[in-house]
């Protein structure tokens, strides 16, 4: 039933497309230059290796010879770690560090000593 509905929908869409005619529009999205994309990916990889999940909050931009680290970490130490990790895989690039320490009271409660252990 779902497939049939979808097929009818797709037929309608395609018919509409045929009736509407087709023309080329200017593309809006700039493709990342391959070398820059490669360097960006390498830096991302290094950040993940160094910081783990914390790397998710760090944005990497590579433009020509300039690397920019933007985003958030939860301590000053991690800014230094991120800088070292990025520098290690992008030698010859200028590194601009815009990372901010995200102030937070959300310190983990673990480990908690009072947990009992299941006897089963």
């Amino acid at each position: 039933m779902v497939c049939k509905k979808r097929r009818v929908l797709v037929c309608g869409l395609v018919s509409g497309l045929l009736l509407s005619g087709c023309g080329n529009l200017t593309q809006r999205i700039e493709q990342t230059e391959p070398t820059a994309a490669f360097v960006e990916a390498q830096i991302k990889r290094a950040l993940i290796d160094a910081l783990g999940v914390d790397a998710a909050a760090i944005q990497v931009k590579v433009e020509e010879e300039q690397i920019t680290l933007d985003g958030f970490v939860d301590s000053k130490d991690k800014i230094a770690t991120a800088t070292r990790a990025a520098s290690s895989v992008a030698q010859g690039y200028q590194l601009e560090n815009r990372l901010l320490v995200r102030e937070s009271n959300t310190q983990s409660s673990y480990p908690i000593p009072n947990i009992l252990y299941v006897n089963t």
Partner: protein, 657 residues
């Protein structure tokens, strides 16, 4: 000789005269004096019709009749037709006063409370005597060998709680010898449900004297439900030494709910066995073995009732865990017990109109968090593991999570969540800011996704199964606010997701790429043909609620999609551009940008004027066909070259991706 005789006579007179006098005192006069004395001592209005005293025996008796006790607020607390007290003089002469037997017969105890709070059981306040606390003398209770209760009713009619209980109570047995039991049995109706309770105690006198422990065992049947317990206790005041085995068979939770007048979930039939012990100040439920419907739960729970809020530490293992069955039970409970005491207010037409407008403009709830309801429930820690999970639409296989609760903090650690053949790890910490009554919270959340099977997620979520692959990624976010909308508006952080080794339905790719001839052919002769997704990659960063797409890629054999744009969570507006880039040469193929604007509640899809229907087609495809992937537009790197993101990040984002 005469002197000796006279001396004996005098002594006999001194001893016997009071006995004889007491024996022949007028019964009503004695009753009046005793009633007055008890009234002054207890604050209750005691009225005894007659007291007969038989002193001419080594086991003298006191027989009282027609006893009525009234509280200070409502009359009718207690009425008894007969009370018989038998003393053991020889035993009493050896030490403490010994009561051989007390018999209570033919009466009723009424616990009545009116809606205004007035009740039968509250006595008058006694005048304080200003005795220094160190001057109080410990009351020596007489030794009691036997207590018999027969034909005594217990009536509870509480207009405040709605309880309506009518029981017949009978009890008999020894209360003075450790190895003999005193047994009480109550039968009757509690809130319309037949109930029967039996309680046997051994060592009542010993625990009152503090010399030995009390042994108990009992059962309570309410309808088809049954609760049994047996164990012992060393100190009745502190509950030290409490050690009891408890077993429950709850075949009908609704009956239990009606008996207790507490809204309980209509859970499936439940069997529970556990051991309750006291490790002051905590109570410990250990060796919990519970079966709830299709689910089985084992573990330990430690509770400290002396803290505010109460402290709970638990370690629970559930295997199997039928979440569907439990949720269905809870849902049916809510349906059967709709929320009470919520007055329905009439809305004016204007208010209704405004609300309707707001609902259309925004999606994120603006209601303030009810933090006190969360943080005041309990504090402590919960370790919860589950295997063999059954839950519809979600491919959970197992989870192992820890929850830590402080009065102002909730910390959830996802140690291992097995989801869709992959794993999720992470944590979420919520801290109440601006204690004690503020609704503001600070939030930190992080998740690591590893090798999730997208096809399985789509299949089990009843979504079109047109795409698949292994998905990995990492997310980290911070925020603060007092509602979901505020949290979204203050969101900082980012995520990246990577999918590889996947597939996507060829129809979707061709139509999204507007390869119309090929798409038409696929529709005329539909096939299960799928095309490989070489890589799908999303890199999203958020500052102050503004989420910016840094990279969004889906790279398939036929088409590469890419996207850029932003979502402003503070005002819920969208500004996203999607672009399909067909790789194969086709007569009608073209590359068209599709913009998504408007708000999250009312998105606007748009393209150039020449191709309005195409834009709608792609937008609809995004929603209907493969939403997970359609939200991951693709980037084309160097004319079909493998995207470097996939090569570089594949191993880092998730092991085994």
């Amino acid at each position: 000789m005469r002197h000796i005789r006279n001396t004996i006579l005098i002594i006999l007179c001194v001893v016997m005269l009071p006995i004889v006098i007491v024996r022949f005192l007028p019964e009503h006069w004695v009753a009046t004096q005793v009633s007055r004395l008890l009234t002054d001592m207890t604050g209750y209005n005691v009225d005894i019709d007659a007291i007969g005293i038989n002193t001419l025996s080594f086991h003298p008796t006191v027989k009282a009749s027609q006893i009525v006790v009234n509280g200070s607020q409502l009359e009718g607390f207690l009425s008894l037709a007969h009370v018989l007290i038998t003393l053991d003089i020889p035993a009493s002469l050896k030490g403490a006063l010994t009561v051989d037997r007390i018999e209570l017969a033919e009466g009723e105890v009424k616990f009545l409370r009116e809606a205004n709070g007035n009740n039968t059981w509250t006595g008058a306040e006694l005048p304080s005597k200003d005795v220094p606390s160190d001057k109080f003398e410990k009351i020596e209770l007489p030794t009691l060998r036997s207590l018999t209760v027969s034909d005594v009713g217990i009536l509870v009619v509480d207009e405040v709680s709605g309880h309506d209980v009518d029981l017949d109570l009978a009890a008999d047995g020894s209360v003075g010898v450790t190895d003999e039991q005193w047994t009480a049995k109550a039968t009757g109706n509690a809130n319309g449900t037949p109930v029967e309770g039996i309680l046997s105690l051994a060592g009542i006198q010993e625990i009152v004297a503090g010399s030995d422990s009390l042994k108990f065992n009992g059962s309570l049947a309410a309808g088809v439900n049954n609760i049994k317990l047996d164990g012992g206790i060393d100190d009745a005041n502190t509950l030290d030494g409490l050690n009891a085995n408890i077993s429950l068979t709850l075949d009908d939770w609704q009956t239990l709910s009606s008996v207790s007048k507490i809204d309980l979930p209509a859970l499936p039939a439940t069997q529970l066995a556990t051991r309750l012990t006291r490790e002051a100040p905590q109570f410990l439920l250990s060796n919990i073995d519970m079966v709830v419907g299709n689910s089985s739960v084992n573990g330990d729970v430690r509770v400290d009732l002396s803290t505010t809020p109460i402290s709970v530490y638990s370690n629970i293992l559930a295997a199997p865990l039928d979440i569907d069955q439990l949720m269905q039970s809870l849902y049916s409970s809510e349906a059967a017990n709709p929320v009470k005491n919520e007055p329905i207010e009439k809305q004016s037409a204007d208010e209704a109109g405004n609300e309707s407008t707001n609902e259309e403009d925004t999606l994120l709830p603006e209601e303030q968090f009810a933090l006190q309801e969360v943080f005041n429930i309990a504090q402590g820690a919960f370790d919860i593991r589950a295997d063999e999970i059954s839950i519809e639409n979600l491919p959970f296989d197992a989870f192992d999570i820890s929850i830590a609760m402080d009065p102002d903090k909730l910390d959830v650690e996802f140690k291992q969540v097995e989801l869709a053949d992959g794993a999720v790890k992470g944590s979420m910490i919520v801290v109440q800011a601006g204690k004690p009554t503020s609704s503001n919270v600070e939030l930190q959340a992080e998740l690591e996704l590893s090798a999730l099977n997208v096809a399985r997620i789509l299949r089990e979520a009843d979504l079109p199964n047109d795409a698949g692959g292994k998905l990995g990624g990492k997310l980290k976010y911070w925020s603060k606010g007092s509602s979901v909308a505020e949290l979204a508006a203050e969101l900082d952080g980012g995520m990246f997701l990577l999918m590889a080794g996947g597939f996507i339905d060829l129809n979707m790719v061709e139509i999204a790429g507007l390869d119309l001839f090929q798409a038409m052919g696929d529709l005329i002769t539909p096939s299960d043909e799928q095309t490989a997704v070489r890589c799908a990659y999303l890199d999203l960063h958020t500052k102050k609620g503004l989420s910016t797409i840094n990279n969004l890629i889906i790279d398939t054999v036929d088409t590469v999609f890419l996207a850029e744009g932003r979502v402003d969570l503070s005002n819920e507006t969208l500004d996203i551009v999607l672009e399909p880039h067909p790789k194969d040469v086709s007569l009608l193929a073209s590359r068209t940008s599709v913009s998504i604007g408007g708000t999250m509640a009312n998105p606007d899809f748009g393209v150039g004027a020449a191709l309005p229907v195409r834009a709608v087609a792609i937008a609809l495809l995004s929603q209907l066909a493969t939403p997970a992937l359609a939200l991951l537009p693709l980037i084309e790197i160097g004319g079909g070259q493998p995207a470097p993101y996939c090569n570089a990040l594949g191993g880092a984002l998730s092991d085994g991706l």
